[in-house]
């Protein structure tokens, strides 16, 4: 049953562009085609006054998730965690890349610094969570000041985005700084590079236009995500990790062929 459902979703996803391309261009704009459910939904939402940006953020979440999942499950890149990366990409889009990078740097520096203070001066029995949050809130003030200095516009940017960034960054990354040491730096760097890369991909004009014009293409993502989630083969980086073993196995295979 599960397989049937999987196949049906996959087939629907793959058939979408074919069905769509068979119709007239105006047909895409026409709202009530059963084979274009997301297009229909988007048109309805836009007719109701919802901004196109909001709709794109929905697309962006799914696309980012797919790219991050491919990087992790197929290639084997390591980063803090998938949620963090998707949230970073999302927030980079909302805040704009410069403000996002400044905020991230400020949060990481101050939170990690606070950790060092805790270890160095052994503030025993002191509530660390409240200390981190208090410092984080002052960090937001600092970010606003820095944004002003670097003339990054803050119009229309909700403070909530910064608070979400603060929580996620503190919880997922800064906690590990003491424990992982140099590995932590490498992980932060990898996560940052990956999120900036995905940010550029999903915000590229071609991708943006393509998915806004044909949002039903998103249905393609679902079978890919399902497939990635169920895949049990080796990741590309694992091929390198076990290269010596694989070579040995290949040699043994070769011996079998010689009669």
């Amino acid at each position: 049953m599960k397989k049937l459902l999987f196949l049906a979703i996959g087939a629907l996803g793959f058939l979408q562009p074919v069905l769509a391309s068979a119709a007239q261009l105006e047909a895409f704009r026409a709202p009530h085609h059963w084979y274009l459910p997301i297009r229909t939904l988007f048109d309805y939402l836009m007719d109701s006054g919802l901004s196109m940006d909001y709709l794109y953020w929905f697309i962006l979440l799914l696309l980012s998730l797919m790219i991050v999942l491919i990087a992790n499950q197929l290639i084997g890149f390591k980063f803090f965690n998938m949620y963090l990366l998707v949230v970073w990409i999302f927030l980079a889009t909302i805040l704009g890349l410069p403000l996002f990078l400044i905020s991230l740097l400020v949060f990481i520096l101050f939170s990690a610094g606070l950790n060092v203070l805790f270890v160095r001066f052994k503030f025993l029995y002191f509530s660390r969570i409240s200390a981190h949050l208090a410092v984080g809130i002052f960090c937001i003030l600092l970010i606003l000041l820095l944004a002003l200095q670097f003339r990054v516009t803050m119009d229309g940017i909700s403070i909530l985005s910064l608070i979400i960034l603060l929580f996620f960054t503190q919880h997922s990354t800064v906690k590990d700084a003491d424990r992982l040491g140099s590995v932590w730096f490498s992980l932060v760097l990898k996560s940052l590079v990956m999120s900036v890369f995905v940010y550029f991909v999903v915000n590229a004009a071609v991708v943006r236009d393509l998915f806004l014009d044909y949002p039903d293409l998103l249905l393609l993502c679902i079978p890919i995500l399902l497939w990635l989630g169920r895949r049990t083969g080796l990741r590309l980086m694992e091929l390198d990790r076990f290269s010596r073993l694989i070579r040995k196995e290949m040699d043994e295979d070769y011996k079998d062929l010689i009669s």
């Binding site: 025993l124 906690k175 003491d178 073993l245 694989i246 196995e249 070769y254």
Partner: protein
């Protein structure tokens, strides 16, 4: 090119990756068994209930209130401080002894009471635990390393990681602390991983830093060959790991076993998601091994041990056999007598390296084409009339001459001391097979009706093999 790719594709399919481990095998465990594996204290309780050895717990600290009221004199000067749900060896603090106001820890680090309290608070905050969950800290007994393993390790405690599936041991690796790892057995930190033969516990291959293969281990000025490592009490260790997996009802697991100087083998940790580096250390892929034991149900400890050691052991033997071009046999072996390219009898034989000749029971020999010749020889099997060596030789030559006139199949005559005196016995040519090796041997034929083994393998048979007294059966 395509052929090469197909070969590569076939080869990589047998290697177990992280996704296959999680989706195909970790998921076979029940939620409760995963909880037991993730919580060191819960697994220790199960081990204690089942009277399985593990290191003793001195004290558990659950929260800041307990930490504030903790009596530091209640723990000995030497201890190990661990987070309950720690992962990858993080947060473990080993204190060797107390000196004044501070404890001397692994790597020459000194820590005072405040430092220790800070470390415990870090544990409470989930700094070292899975998914940063709130955690508890506990003090346990520090293991004193077994003298044998001590010589291969630099400072820290070596442990043995054993992978089990369906309670059958499928692969094992010894993790040795090295200079590069600063005395930690963790492979990610530069520890040495030595792949072990499941049958004997002997070192096969070793790796450092992922997949860099090494042949020797250098500790101080002494250099050891990987093959010279042979884990003591190996069968006991395997048995303990099977019993632990059964007690925790965990079908797929990686167990860490250490050997204490006083207690012997004891369980350090139960892992629900064991690392995959063991494949590189053993130079052997895991998927095939796991698939071979996938359908086993209700295996007893003895059966699981026997399956694990027989299916996945013997790699060292295979290598030696490959080098020497000879098979290794044990003290007792199953031997087939071949006549006209057919196996006519399969009997248990014992090695007797003091005998120049192989001895075969007369009744067995009668089943071959030698029947007539042996009947003829019966006429000459009277007792030797004299005890003078020169006369004995002359008598035996006479017997041989008479036998030769009637049959060619008897090669020689040997004079054997029996309770009736000196008796002539025939020596005939036989074709025997042990395991895969067929060989011709001149064997003494005599009655062994009362003997447990109908064949005694003498020096002439043993020259075709390598002999290992520890090998149980062949």
């Amino acid at each position: 090119m395509l052929k090469k790719f197909i070969q590569f594709w076939r080869a990589q399919r047998n290697v177990l990756g992280i996704d296959a481990r999680d989706l195909l095998y970790v998921s076979r465990n029940s939620k409760h068994s995963i909880y037991l594996a993730d919580s060191k204290l819960a697994s220790k309780r199960v081990l204690k209930e089942n009277k399985l050895p593990s290191s003793r717990v001195f004290a558990v600290i659950h929260n800041r209130q307990e930490l504030r009221d903790f009596d530091w004199l209640s723990i000995p000067d030497s201890f190990v401080l661990k987070p309950n749900r720690g992962m990858g060896g993080a947060g473990i603090l080993v204190a060797f002894r107390k000196k004044g106001d501070y404890w001397l820890c692994a790597g020459g680090r000194k820590i005072d009471l405040e430092g220790l309290q800070t470390h415990i608070i870090n544990i409470f905050d989930g700094l070292f635990s899975l998914f940063h969950q709130k955690d508890i800290a506990f003090f346990e007994e520090r293991i004193s390393i077994d003298n044998y393993l001590k010589r291969f390790s630099y400072k820290g405690i070596p442990d043995i990681r054993i992978w089990l599936y369906n309670y059958v041991p499928v692969m094992a690796m010894l993790r040795l602390p090295s200079v590069a790892s600063g005395g930690k057995a963790n492979l990610a930190q530069g520890g040495i991983g030595v792949g072990l033969d499941l049958g004997t516990g002997q070192g096969l291959h070793a790796i450092v830093k992922g997949n860099q293969v090494i042949d020797t281990i250098k500790i101080g000025k002494t250099e050891f060959s990987i093959h010279s490592i042979r884990i003591p009490k190996w069968k006991k260790i395997l048995k303990l790991s099977i019993e632990t997996a059964k007690a925790c009802k965990i079908k797929f697991t990686g167990l860490d076993v250490a050997i204490d100087k006083k207690i012997g083998p004891l369980i350090l940790e139960v892992n629900a998601r064991p690392g995959l580096e063991i494949q590189n250390a053993n130079m052997s892929p895991l998927k095939e091994r796991l698939q071979r034991v996938a359908n086993l149900k209700k295996v007893t400890t003895e059966k699981a041990l026997s399956i694990g050691t027989s299916l996945f052991g013997g790699s060292v033997e295979q290598e030696i056999e490959l080098l020497a071009g000879k098979e290794i046999i044990g003290l007792k072996n199953e031997v087939e007598i071949i006549a006209e390219e057919k196996s006519i009898a399969k009997v248990a034989a014992r090695v007797d390296s003091t005998n120049a000749y192989t001895v075969i029971d007369r009744d067995l020999a009668m089943k071959t084409d030698l029947k007539e010749s042996l009947e003829i020889f019966k006429e000459f099997s009277e007792t030797c009339p004299c005890y003078d060596q020169v006369k004995i030789d002359r008598w035996s030559k006479d017997v041989m001459k008479k036998v030769r006139e009637k049959t060619d199949l008897i090669e020689d005559v040997k004079i054997v001391q029996t309770k009736h005196g000196l008796v002539a016995r025939p020596v005939c040519r036989f074709k025997l097979r042990i395991s895969e090796t067929e060989f011709n041997v001149s064997a003494l034929v005599m009655s062994r009706k009362q003997a447990a083994h109908k064949i005694l393998l003498g020096q002439d048979a043993l020259k075709h093999f390598l002999f290992d007294v520890n090998k149980k059966d062949n």
